[in-house]
Symmetry: C2
C-alpha cells in the first residue's frame, strides 16, 4: 500500500515513522529540498500546483495532507482520481477563520464572539458591538500566532488596521479563558469514531510549548462535551482521519477556537502516551483499517524543542523521557523537535517536566 | 551522529526506526540488495569482507552489528579506527557454541552437559558419558534450529554423523525443560546495566513463534538469577549494548542455552511493551547515553509472522494489537513480521493471543 502525503514536515515524518511498521510506503510532495520527511518517503520536490507532481501523488492508493495550508485545489486535483482523506472540504473550512467559526456556529458549537471585518469602518463597527479587548486576525494563512493583533483600547485600532488591513479579517472577542485545551478525534472510513483524552496546552507568543494529559481537575462533563463537538464536525464533513479541535475553557464552558484537519502538535504525546498514536490512527482511518485504542494509561506531557536541541544525554537522564528530533536546521522560533515524558502520577510528572524545562531553558 | 550497522535485516530496520527520532543517521552494510532496512539507512551494498565498504562504515561515529554471523574480522577491521559495540569479542564467543558454553562454564553459569565432538569416535565417547537423548549441533553457523540433530538412541549415531559430521560439533545433553525463557540485558558505555523482565518463548521447528512477559507463575528468584548470569557475561566481555541470553527452566534451575550479542526476537515485544524498547536502549548504550527504563507495565505478547502476512484489518481488529512488517518478500519459513498485543491482565492477554493465533493459522 502506498500513501501520498501533501507536505513533508515533521508531521509527515512522524506519519511515515508510524506507517513503515504497518508495511506502508510513502510518497510526499513538498517544495522544500530538505523537508524533514527525508529519506522516509519518496520525495517529489515540486510546488503544490505542479500538475505532474500531483499526478505522481495520485498514483498512491490513498492521499492525505499534513498541514492545513496545502492549497485546496491540490487536494481536489488528486481527488479526481484517488481518494483523499480528510476531505478537501475540511481544508476549505479550516483555511478561513470565518468559514471555520461559521461552521462551528452552524453545528451549535460555542465560540468566542466574532465578526467579519473587511474595512476599518467595519472594524470600528465590530468593536462597538463586541467591546474591547478583542483580537483582529487575518482570515487566512495565520499560524503559530502570526497574523494576529490584540486590541486593548480604541487607540489601537489604527495600528491594528495598518498592520493587518487589506486582506479579509475577522475580529474575535478576547476570551479570558482559564486554560487552553484540545481534543484529538479520529473517524474511520466506516464512520466509527474515537477520541483521545482532552489535552491541556500552553502557548508562548502563539506557539505551542507544552501539552499534558490528563488535564488537572477537569470537570468530568468536559470530556463528553468536547467529544460531542468533535463528532458534530467529523460527521458534518464526512471526515476521515485525525481532527484536532482547540478549545478555550472559560467559566465552565468550552469555546471552539480553531480546528486543524490533520494530526496535531498537541497529539504528539500520544506516541508514547496512548495505546495507539495519533499518527497510526490517522493512517488506520484513511486506509479503512480498524481504529486503535485511544486511551492514555498514565500521565504524560510533551515539551516542544524550539530554536535548538538540548543535549540528548541531559534529556534522556530524566526517567521515561523520549526524544523526537525532526531533522530540521535549528533557527530561532522554529520547532525542531519535542520530548515526551510519562510518570506514574501527576506529582512525579510535574517534577520530570520541571527538570526538562530547566534543561531546555539552559540550552 | 551517524551509526554504522553490519547487517540490514529486520533488526537493523527496527534499530533505524528507533534511532531516527533520536536524530541519528544510519549507514548499513548488507550484501542483499533488498535488505529490509531499505531507505531508512544509507545502504552500502557489498560483502562483509569488502575493504572499501568497511571503510565507509568506519566513517560513522560508532558501529554495531545486528546479527551474530557477521564475520568477526569485519567488526575488528572497523574497530581499528572506530568504536564497535558490542565488542567483536562477543561475536567470537557467540559464533561458536563450544566457546559460548565454555564461557558460561567459566563464569559459573549453569548449562546443559556438553562435549566437543570432532569425530564419530568422539561422538560415541561423549554419548557414553552423557547418555541419550542428546543433541548434536554444529559449533558454528547454526540458527533457527538449523544444524542440529536430536539423537534418541544409539541407532541414530550413524545418521547424525552422516548429516552433520565433518565440521566441528558439540554434543549437548537433552534437557527436559519446563519452558524456554530469555533475559534481555543492556550495558552502557559507563558500565551501568539494566534488565528487562524475563520473557517466555515458544519455538516451532527451532524458530521462535511466540514470546510473552510476565512469565506465568515464575518463582521470584528466577529474575534475579537470570540477571546475575547476564551481568557476569556483560562485565566479563566489557560488553556495551543489548545482550540476549536464552535459558531453559528445568527443575527450578535456569540453564544457559545460548546468547545473542545483539537485539533479539524475544525482545520485540519491548517496542510497545516496555517503557524503552530494546532497540532504543541498544542505541542509547552504544552512544554513551543514559539507559532507558526497562520496566514492562502490563502483560504483553508477541507472535512472529512466518511465511506470510495475514490481513492487516483482521489483526488490527484485536484490541491493542500492533503490527510490524519487515518489508521482506514472503516465503515459507521466513520471518516477515510480527504482531505485538498488550492487555490489562493475563487472562485478557490469553484471549487476544488466541484471536491472533487463529488469524495467523487461517492465513
Amino acid at each position: 500500500m502506498k500513501v501520498g502525503i501533501l507536505g513533508g514536515g515533521q508531521l509527515g515524518r512522524m506519519l511515515a515513522l508510524a506507517g513503515l511498521p504497518l508495511g506502508l510506503r510513502f510518497v510526499v510532495l513538498d517544495p522544500a529540498a530538505n523537508a524533514p520527511v527525508g529519506q522516509l518517503a519518496k520525495h517529489v520536490l515540486a510546488d503544490y500546483d505542479d500538475d505532474a507532481a500531483l499526478a505522481e501523488l495520485a498514483r498512491s492508493d490513498v492521499c492525505t495532507y499534513e498541514f492545513e495550508s496545502v492549497p485546496e485545489a491540490a487536494a481536489r486535483a488528486i481527488q479526481s482520481t484517488t481518494p483523499v482523506h480528510p476531505t478537501p472540504e475540511a481544508l476549505r473550512i479550516a483555511q478561513d477563520r470565518l468559514n471555520e467559526k461559521l461552521c462551528f456556529r452552524e453545528l451549535g458549537i460555542p465560540t468566542p464572539a466574532f465578526e467579519a471585518v473587511d474595512s476599518e469602518h467595519e472594524l470600528r463597527a465590530a468593536i462597538a458591538k463586541m467591546g474591547l479587548p478583542a483580537v483582529l486576525k487575518t482570515r487566512r494563512h495565520g499560524y503559530d500566532g502570526k497574523g494576529q493583533f490584540l486590541l486593548r483600547e480604541t487607540g489601537d485600532i489604527a495600528s491594528a488596521w495598518l498592520e493587518l488591513g487589506g486582506v479579509p479579517l475577522i475580529l474575535e472577542g478576547f476570551v479570558r479563558f482559564e486554560r487552553e485545551l484540545s481534543v484529538l478525534s479520529v473517524r474511520g472510513l466506516d464512520g466509527a469514531t474515537a477520541f483521545y483524552p482532552l489535552v491541556e496546552n500552553h502557548h508562548e507568543q502563539g506557539m505551542l510549548r507544552f501539552s499534558r494529559t490528563p488535564v488537572p481537575a477537569l470537570a468530568p462533563e468536559q470530556q463528553k462535551r468536547a467529544e460531542s463537538y468533535a463528532v458534530r464536525l467529523l460527521d458534518h464533513m464526512g471526515y476521515v482521519g485525525v481532527l484536532a479541535l482547540e478549545l478555550f475553557e472559560a467559566g465552565g464552558q468550552l469555546l471552539a477556537n480553531e480546528m486543524a484537519p490533520r494530526v496535531h502538535n498537541s497529539g504528539h504525546l500520544t506516541i508514547e502516551g496512548a495505546r495507539t498514536s495519533q499518527f497510526e490512527n490517522h493512517l488506520r482511518a484513511i486506509l479503512g483499517l480498524p481504529l486503535g485504542d485511544t486511551s492514555v494509561p498514565e500521565p504524560v506531557a510533551m515539551l516542544n524543542l524550539v530554536g535548538g536541541l538540548p543535549r540528548r544525554e541531559d534529556m534522556l537522564a530524566v526517567p521515561d523521557a523520549h526524544l523526537h528530533f525532526y531533522a530540521k536546521q535549528p533557527r530561532p522560533g522554529r520547532k525542531v523537535g519535542h520530548v515526551t515524558v510519562r510518570a506514574p502520577d501527576a506529582a512525579t510528572l510535574d517534577e520530570r517536566v520541571a527538570r526538562l524545562e530547566a534543561i531546555i531553558a539552559s540550552d
